[in-house]
């Protein structure tokens, strides 16, 4: 900041305050100023006056503050001046490092504090975190626009239900198998579409998502069509979380001699899911620093240059598709076990759009952003149940606003710097 005395333009501040007051009058006038009384209404100008005065005073204070040198510095610090990616200095340690262990501790305590309802909402949030992380690899890192991600989610969920129904496999065996099946489907989808880019790829993947849903709906002999299928609950060392266990199993509450409660199963699902999410977060963090993660990002930046450097673009794209899809499959397994039931109507295009919205709002390629966005987009609709009819409208508006103010998402990606060192070739 310059040392020159900053003069404050009071006229401008007063005009700001009057405009804010007028806006407040328009916004609050009909809501606060008029109170319905049967078929009649009463005017309540006093309440309205207080609100408008508060707004004007606040605006005046803010306007004056932002004209002082301190306020200007504050504005400068918080304005979105550099929107792009930037490289962190070597050995950079974030000031918010302590938040990670704190979050993990809180997350571990949640099931013992929260009510069953909150727990189910948080489980749903974590499932979307998994989905967001999976799609983030495909869209955010490798730059392949995938509109059919819900297909892999469905494969994971139906993998659990079908494995239980037809092969008699439980949650623990189907968890890895479903992820592998989803990865194989990712490869099957990936291989023919690898020569496509952008819009074309988006259309093909959109079709893939719909094909999966239509097959699940219409192949009634195997999937029981729209009637859906039951999915098993996870077991804890062979102990079940039902009131009465099946043949040869002990229910969890009987083994420990505690009264039956349906919360236990949610607590258990939550803890397993939390571990899986933490594992995926760690793997994702490592992947971005590994050759394969760099290759994905390079492919997003320039495919032709990648080929000129000896990278097999087919394999690089396939690996992104497969790892992303397997994460989606994991999320599907948890979704099925959490609902206890799956049917094709859970896997519509709207889900794909929601997952894509999570990635775009969170910030392409940014892990933290995706986690935050996943929680915002799944928990917010639960909190605002009364406005359920306007949910999609609100999503649309949120997307438009984000594209105007933060086109790169909530948290922009940063790149790690490296220490200078002596060069050496062998």
């Amino acid at each position: 900041m310059s040392q020159a005395v900053v003069s404050i333009n009071y006229k401008k501040s007063v005009i700001d305050a009057v405009i804010a007051g007028l806006l407040a009058l328009i916004v609050f006038g009909p809501i606060v100023g008029i109170v319905l009384d049967g078929y009649d209404f009463n005017a309540e100008p006093e309440r309205l006056m207080w609100i408008v005065l508060t707004v004007m005073a606040g605006r005046l204070a803010a306007s004056v503050f932002f004209q002082t040198s301190k306020g200007a510095a504050f504005l400068y610090k918080h304005s979105s001046k550099e929107e792009g990616v930037h490289v962190l200095p070597p050995g950079h340690k974030s000031k918010l490092r302590w938040i990670i262990p704190l979050t993990i501790v809180i997350a571990l305590l949640v099931p013992f504090i929260a009510s069953k309802y909150i727990l189910t909402v948080v489980i749903l949030g974590l499932i979307y975190v998994l989905l967001g992380l999976g799609l983030n690899i495909v869209v955010g890192l490798a730059g392949l626009l995938d509109l059919g991600f819900v297909g892999f989610y469905a494969i994971g969920a139906y993998g659990l239900a079908l494995g239980y129904e037809h092969l008699g496999l439980g949650f623990w065996s189907m968890l890895p198998i479903s992820a592998i099946i989803a990865a194989i489907f990712g490869a099957i989808l990936g291989f023919p579409v690898l020569r496509m880019h952008g819009d074309y790829l988006a259309i093909v993947t959109l079709g893939f998502g719909e094909i999966i849903r239509l097959v699940l709906t219409n192949w009634t002999e195997v999937t029981q069509g729209p009637n859906g299928m039951n999915a098993p609950l996870p077991t804890f060392f062979g102990m079940e979380f039902k009131r009465r266990a099946s043949e040869g199993h002990v229910p969890f509450h009987e083994f420990f001699g505690i009264p039956y409660s349906s919360v236990y199963k949610y607590i258990f699902i939550y803890l397993v899911l939390l571990l899986v999410v933490l594992g995926v977060l760690y793997v994702k963090k490592r992947l971005t620093k590994m050759p394969i993660g760099r290759a994905w990002e390079a492919l997003r930046e320039d495919e032709i240059a990648c080929r000129s450097l000896g990278l097999n673009h087919v394999l690089v794209k396939l690996s992104a598709f497969m790892i992303g899809a397997s994460t989606g499959g994991l999320a599907g397994v948890f979704f099925a076990t959490y609902q206890g039931f799956v049917n094709p109507s859970s896997f519509t295009f709207f889900e794909s759009a929601l997952i894509l919205a999570i990635v775009v709002l969170g910030g392409m390629g940014s892990t933290l952003g995706v986690v935050i966005a996943a929680f915002v987009l799944t928990v917010a609709p639960e909190l605002l149940r009364e406005f359920a009819d306007y949910r999609v409208l609100a999503f649309g508006m949120l997307m438009v606003l984000m594209m105007i103010w933060k086109p790169r998402g909530l948290v922009r990606m940063t790149r790690t710097g490296v220490e200078q060192r002596e060069g050496n070739v062998k």
Binding site: H86, I292, G310, L315
Partner: protein, 293 residues
């Protein structure tokens, strides 16, 4: 193919629909030389480059690359159409299917030929060092498990990759910009970074597409020195397309002149300077007029 030539182009033909961009191009590049491909605009220089590096699939002819201890046919690794005889010979069939499914220009790079681009193609949103690390992908420890567990072998291989990256940054004089985004660099720095990136793939021959375009005279001077370093200290053969005749005549050992998709002259700088055909191609000549220097 004789031992001392690294690249041999025979009867190269490239048609785009009805346009014959290249018509029977033949030349050989000697190992350890600096060669230049010159010609007026639209002569087909970049087309030759794209054929050599596998970005275009040549319509006909043969490109043999003799590097890294083996001979590679550039056209074969791009994947050729099946022929009737393939269906009788399973080995030939499997080979052709392999190249059809997994072939492509990346195999040309792995065979020891790397290139830069006329319009710079860096990974703009990645840091300068990361650009060079991506180029070392084939030499890095790519095991998923080793990387996720961050094993000792993995750390060592990453450290080596970083050292190599810094070595090349030193050669192109960009060490102080290691932690900048590639897109933030100035034009000349981006050109140099692209050369460093091409060299990080450990090629035996590097093809530079107009490396001096847009550089000022002192930068061109530095570039000339750098190309000599590549040849003398790293035994790298350099093939370049360039319009800056001063630079071309200064550093080239061998020059191939293209015009209208055909080689009109090849030889040392002195021969080319005095070749009437070349002068006619650049300056134009009346029908039947004898061009003298």
């Amino acid at each position: 193919m004789s031992q001392d030539s690294i690249l041999k182009v025979d009867n190269l033909v490239m048609h785009f629909g009805g346009i014959k961009a290249l018509n029977d191009v033949n030349f050989e590049i000697k190992r350890g030389s600096v060669s230049a491909l010159i010609g007026p605009n639209g002569a087909g220089k970049t087309t030759v480059f794209n054929c050599l590096t596998g970005f275009y699939k040549a319509t006909g002819g043969n490109i043999m690359l003799d590097a890294c201890g083996k001979t590679t046919s550039v056209i074969q690794v791009l994947g050729e159409p099946f022929q009737a005889s393939d269906f009788l010979n399973p080995v030939a069939f499997a080979k052709r299917l392999k190249y059809k499914m997994f072939g492509g220009s990346h195999l040309v790079n792995r065979a020891g030929l790397s290139r830069t681009f006329q319009n710079i193609r860096l990974f703009k949103e990645m840091s300068v060092v990361e650009n060079l690390l991506v180029a070392q992908h084939m030499r890095a420890n790519r095991s998923l498990i080793a990387g996720i567990l961050n094993t000792k072998a993995y750390k060592k291989s990453e450290e080596e990759a970083l050292e190599r990256a810094f070595y090349w940054l030193g050669v192109v004089d960009l060490k102080d910009f290691a932690n900048r985004l590639a897109g933030e660099l100035s034009y000349g720095q981006q050109r140099r970074l692209e050369i460093a990136r091409a060299m990080c793939t450990n090629p035996e021959i590097v093809c530079l597409d107009e490396p001096a375009a847009g550089l000022n005279p002192s930068e061109t001077e530095a570039l000339t020195k750098m190309i000599r370093v590549l040849r003398d200290q790293h035994n790298t053969t350099v093939l370049l397309i360039e319009h800056d005749m001063g630079m071309v005549m200064n550093i080239s050992d061998y020059i191939v002149v293209l015009d209208h998709g055909e080689v009109i002259a090849k030889g040392g700088p002195e021969d080319i300077k005095s070749n009437p055909k070349v002068i006619a191609a650049y300056l134009g000549a009346e029908e039947g007029e004898e061009v003298t220097l």
